[in-house]
């Protein structure tokens, strides 16, 4: 593939997908600057692999690379306080806006990635499983655990297993 063609196609794809993938990365890492950096790194890898990626799988490929970059980044950043080490929070009143950030931060990294893919990107269980390289059952059980944690942190949300 000629460089001009590669860069034209790549730039067009980037224009249509980079912002959405940065949002996914943000939900996983909870920091916009880091999310942007990881998204750009992921797109650099995508640029190198571009001739080998079929057009119909580009978005899935890009999403997988971004999520992997995020999870790798979070692994490198360890050691960090585990969920058990997080301080107890007072139950917020109904007048207080829900602290979604703190609730998401309480999730293990992979569960947060699953939440991002399922609830932000609205991907079905099977697609999330393919992206993360885990079974459908794992996605469902991790989703269930994530919702349980979020219920504890956001008690005014009556989260139910409806799918």
């Amino acid at each position: 593939m000629r460089r001009e063609q590669r860069e034209r196609e790549f730039t067009e794809f980037y224009a249509g997908s980079a912002a959405a993938l940065r949002r996914t990365a943000y939900v996983v890492v909870r920091d916009w600057h880091v999310a942007e950096d990881l998204t750009q790194q992921a797109f650099a890898k995508l640029y190198v692999a571009w001739p080998r990626i079929r057009e119909e799988t580009r978005m899935a490929y890009a999403r997988r690379v971004v999520v992997n970059e995020c999870l790798s980044h979070l692994r490198r950043r360890r050691p960090e306080a585990s969920i058990d080490d997080l301080p107890e929070r007072a139950v917020p009143s109904h007048d207080e806006p829900p602290d979604l950030g703190a609730a998401l931060a309480a999730l293990p990294d992979r569960q947060r990635a699953i939440v991002a893919l399922r609830f932000l990107d609205d991907l079905p269980v099977a697609e999330v499983g393919r992206l993360l390289g885990v079974s459908d059952g794992t996605v469902k059980s991790q989703t269930s655990r994530a919702l349980k944690t979020l219920r504890g942190r956001l008690p005014h949300l009556h989260l139910e297993e409806i799918r």
Binding site: A18, W32, E36, A44, V48, D122
Partner: protein
């Protein structure tokens, strides 16, 4: 709130905090270009290593009489590489893929400008190689099936051997670690056996070996071609320029 409300909450959180500035596509493009260049450098480095392994051993057998000289000191490669590039690039144009390898008494630069990696150049300085009898060396090379081997003496009394040989790639395979790159291993084939080699698998190498005060300096160009005539037409560096580079006293001293 319901299950779907979590999706709404996440999206509202994202929307409320998302930076307004857009993302610059040139950032990953530049990073990606750099990664591709690094990959080409690795390719040239692999080629240079194999070329050296294939050619230096016969040189040592024929040219080496006594014990090897001490290994050259270990100066930084950058000035030498700069001289190598300055000597070659007037003939070759810009060479983007560059590697330097030191092993024993040899220092070798591998350079390439061809995106396929199949057309490349090497410059090897070997302080243990003497090439005491160039005429006998050429006689030996020709008996091994080299296409040509001649001895050149210039007005300053410098001696250079110019030789050409047929080689085939014996180790090409895609490597998962680097993606689409190759493990380059070449074996010499007597030119009389040219007909037994698939035309697409034929590679030709032309090189000049100069005797220097420090040992030998060898400059080679290798490319893919179906016949010696096609190779001769495709070589970028003329024999005289190969000799000039190999005989460059500054290049011999700089390594």
């Amino acid at each position: 709130m319901t299950h779907d409300d979590l999706a709404i909450l996440i999206r509202e959180d994202v929307r409320a905090t998302e930076p307004h500035h857009g993302l610059d596509p040139m950032v990953p493009v530049r990073l990606g270009r750099r990664r591709l260049r690094s990959r080409h450098v690795r390719l040239a480095g692999a080629a240079a290593a194999v070329v050296a392994a294939a050619v230096i051993a016969p040189l040592a057998i024929v040219g080496g009489g006594g014990p090897p000289d001490p290994a050259p000191t270990a100066p930084t490669a950058a000035p030498w590489l700069a001289r190598v590039r300055a000597a070659l690039e007037p003939s070759t144009g810009a060479l983007s893929a560059v590697s330097v390898r030191r092993e024993g008494t040899q220092v070798e630069a591998g350079l390439g400008g061809d995106p396929t990696g199949w057309h490349f150049y090497t410059v090897t300085a070997d302080s243990a190689d003497k090439l005491d009898d160039p005429a006998a060396y050429c006689q030996e090379r020709l008996s091994l099936g080299y296409i040509s081997c001649t001895v050149d003496h210039d007005a300053a009394g410098r001696t250079t051997v110019v030789q050409e040989l047929l080689v085939v790639n014996v180790g090409a395979r895609p490597t998962a670690g680097f993606g689409h790159t190759w493990d380059l291993s070449f074996a010499r084939i007597p030119v009389d056996n040219l007909g037994s080699v698939n035309p697409a698998d034929r590679f030709f190498r032309r090189e000049a070996i100069a005797v220097t005060a420090f040992g030998t300096l060898k400059v080679s160009e290798q490319l893919q071609a179906p016949t010696p005539a096609a190779a001769a037409a495709a070589y970028v560096v003329p024999p005289a320029a190969l000799i000039a580079v190999a005989s460059d006293p500054e290049l011999a001293e700089a390594h």
